[in-house]
């Protein structure tokens, strides 16, 4: 990729969208990665020789995918409104979630993942319990299972302190300054299960169905999903990039992947490549974590604070 002028950088040569080059200098395009590897690491006098370019491309993309999962720290954020269906369809480039929050009154409320089963499929059955089929032999299914139905209607009790269906729902209590207080049950109450001690709505991710199911109290609220992708940019190779701090790691990763699977490569070479790869990954992770005195300063200023 050629270097661009400052005019091109800021205004994209007056071609919309103007922000297309902003911050681009941090990244190396996939095209350059593959091109550089073919030029510099592959050839008659190199360890990697007579390899097809598509193999290099594959290993480059795999390295980029792996980096996107944990090293890049490039978290995507998507905000969507959740309606009465209590469902949030996962974004098309979703791989895993980082945090899910509810946005209400200008505040982000982090939500807890519900460890209970919240959603299920169901089959229609007759009175004797036999499963019903249509003419084509396909099983007939109801729109919602009872589990889903109860969850959506808010009638499903929960172990969480969810406002609508928590364990204190329906109990007699005292409202003082807007907060509810309840008497302990007989035998006293020894502590709280902190895992479920959250009054915010809860969620469960149904990965195969591609949705996040929420408890009923989230209805008609905004939900913010922080998630990670694999960096493949919807299959558009021209948009795939790697942070420059990881460039050398990607070369090392490709080299290791090729040599590690190549017949008759001496084991000491494979071991050398593995060490190089892991060392470069470690270095790059340290670099991108951006630990420097300036960032630590504010934390260290609290070192003499008295702890009560």
């Amino acid at each position: 990729m050629a270097y661009i002028s400052e005019f091109q950088y800021y205004d994209n040569g007056v071609n919309p969208p103007e922000d297309v080059n902003w911050g681009s200098y941090q990244y190396v395009p996939l095209y350059d990665i593959v091109n550089n590897f073919m030029l510099m690491y592959q050839g008659n006098h190199s360890l990697v020789n007579n390899e097809e370019r598509f193999k290099i491309l594959f290993h480059a993309k795999r390295a980029i995918q792996e980096l996107n999962y944990d090293a890049f720290k490039e978290i995507k954020v998507l905000e969507l409104a959740v309606d009465d269906s209590l469902r949030f369809v996962l974004p098309p480039d979703y791989v895993n979630w980082v945090r899910i929050s509810m946005y209400r009154d200008g505040i982000l409320f982090p939500l807890s993942e519900n460890i209970q089963v919240q959603s299920a499929q169901a089959y229609l059955q007759d009175q004797t319990g036999r499963v019903l089929f249509d003419q084509s032999g396909n099983i007939l299914r109801p729109e919602d299972s009872s589990l889903d139905f109860d969850r959506i209607k808010g009638s499903k009790p929960s172990i969480y302190l969810d406002q609508n269906n928590g364990q204190f729902n329906g109990q007699t209590g005292y409202n003082v300054d807007g907060c509810w207080y309840f008497e302990y049950g007989i035998g006293a109450r020894f502590g709280l299960n902190t895992e479920t001690a959250n009054s915010n709505p809860t969620f469960t991710i149904d990965r195969k169905a591609g949705v996040i199911n929420f408890s009923s109290s989230i209805s008609n609220n905004l939900v913010v999903l922080e998630y990670i992708s694999d960096g493949m940019e919807g299959g558009d190779d021209s948009k795939i990039t790697v942070n420059k701090l990881f460039e050398e790691y990607v070369y090392a990763s490709i080299e290791y992947a090729i040599l590690g699977s190549k017949l008759n490569t001496q084991e000491y070479i494979v071991a050398r490549m593995r060490k190089r790869k892991t060392a470069l990954l470690r270095n790059a992770k340290i670099r991108i974590s951006n630990i420097h005195p300036g960032r630590l300063l504010m934390n260290l200023r609290g070192q003499n604070k008295w702890i009560k």
């Binding site: 996939l30 095209y31 593959v34 008659n44 006098h45 097809e52 370019r53 598509f54 491309l57 594959f58 993309k61 795999r62 493949m232 299959g235 190779d237 021209s238």
Partner: protein, 340 residues
């Protein structure tokens, strides 16, 4: 010649002349060896046949030599500078290098280099290059004979928006030709730097002048189906691929389907050498470069000895003279050993 002496222009002329008539020198030497002890005589037609074979032998041997030198380099048995044998072989091979547009036959299928499409048969297709940014394509609707057939005229086109001076026009006229836009006359007419846009109904394609060439990767038929179905590595315009089948090249992705979108850098076969004559002196043909079919050897001058020895071997077999064959064979073996 003393080191540092100034070379006269006639010296360069001498070298040039010598190279230019290498075929005559080779023939004279061959005849001289053959005539020793009255072994026999080689007619011009036989000489031309043997010359062609000898040149092909040497040409093919370049690639084995090249590989041999690479292996020597990897074994750290080769030097640099004047000891860089590989460089010399590369230069000899690259004499036969050509880069030309491939003629499209249908969709994403292009003809491989051939006498009818590129003007020469290819020995090795080294790489296929793909134009990235197609700006426009269409068919010519008029010619500009009055201005020397230098204009691309297409009444259905709208050249105003996306075409700029310097952009590249590809069209087919005795193979693929590439012209540059020199003037944007109006929305349907472009002036080019070539003068062979002389037919109506000629398809053309225009590529952005700053477009990148992407190198398409050769993929075998055993892999291309899986590659096309691969999520991560399916060919696209950034990483195109191609397969070869008979005398056709199929480009992938199949959106590569425009005139002149694929160029090939290939090594052609050496032209067939032809020792020609026009007159006879005392019944002996006298060399002349005048006939249209005259063709000198194309391989470098330093292979002259090799040519002579190879032709002598063929001649020795022809005249059933074992001594000639043995002599040439022994000389060639010695030569090979020295070079190794």
């Amino acid at each position: 010649m003393k080191r540092g002496a100034i070379l006269s222009p006639s010296f360069f002329l001498l070298i040039f002349t010598k190279k230019f008539t290498m075929i005559n020198t080779v023939r004279n030497t061959v005849l001289s060896v053959l005539n020793k002890n009255n072994y026999g005589y080689l007619s011009p037609s036989d000489f031309n046949l043997f010359a062609k074979q000898a040149q092909l032998d040497i040409f093919e041997n370049y690639f084995y030599e090249y590989n041999y030198q690479i292996n020597k380099e990897n074994a750290r048995q080769s030097g640099t500078g004047y000891a860089d044998i590989r460089k010399g072989i590369e230069e000899a091979i690259e004499i036969f290098s050509e880069t030309k547009g491939l003629v499209r036959t249908a969709d994403n299928i292009y003809s491989l280099p051939s006498q009818t499409t590129t003007g020469d048969d290819y020995y090795l297709l080294n790489k296929a290059l793909v134009y990235q940014t197609l700006l426009d394509e269409g068919t010519t609707t008029a010619i500009s004979a009055g201005t020397g057939n230098n204009k691309l005229i297409d009444s259905a086109a709208n050249f105003t928006a996306d075409i700029n001076i310097g952009d590249i026009i590809a069209y087919e006229n005795g193979g693929v030709q590439y012209a540059k836009v020199t003037v944007k006359d109006n929305s349907t007419t472009l002036t080019t730097n070539r003068t062979d846009l002389n037919a109506i109904g000629r398809p053309y394609a225009i590529y952005k002048s700053t477009t990148k060439f992407e190198e398409a990767e050769k993929v075998t038929h055993s892999k291309i189906t899986m590659l096309n179905n691969s999520l991560l590595t399916a060919p696209n315009l950034t990483f195109p691929a191609y397969t070869q089948e008979a005398n056709a090249l199929t480009a992938f992705p199949n959106t590569i389907d425009s005139i002149g979108q694929v160029q090939a850098q290939y090594l052609r076969y050496p032209a067939e050498p032809k020792w020609t004559y026009v007159t006879l002196a005392n019944g002996t043909p006298v060399f002349s470069q005048s006939p249209a079919d005259y063709q000198d050897f194309e391989i470098p001058l330093d292979d002259e000895v090799g040519l002579i020895l190879k032709i002598l071997q063929y001649a020795g077999v022809m005249i059933r003279e074992a001594d000639v064959y043995s002599f040439a064979q022994a000389e060639e073996n010695q030569d090979n050993q020295e070079e190794a």
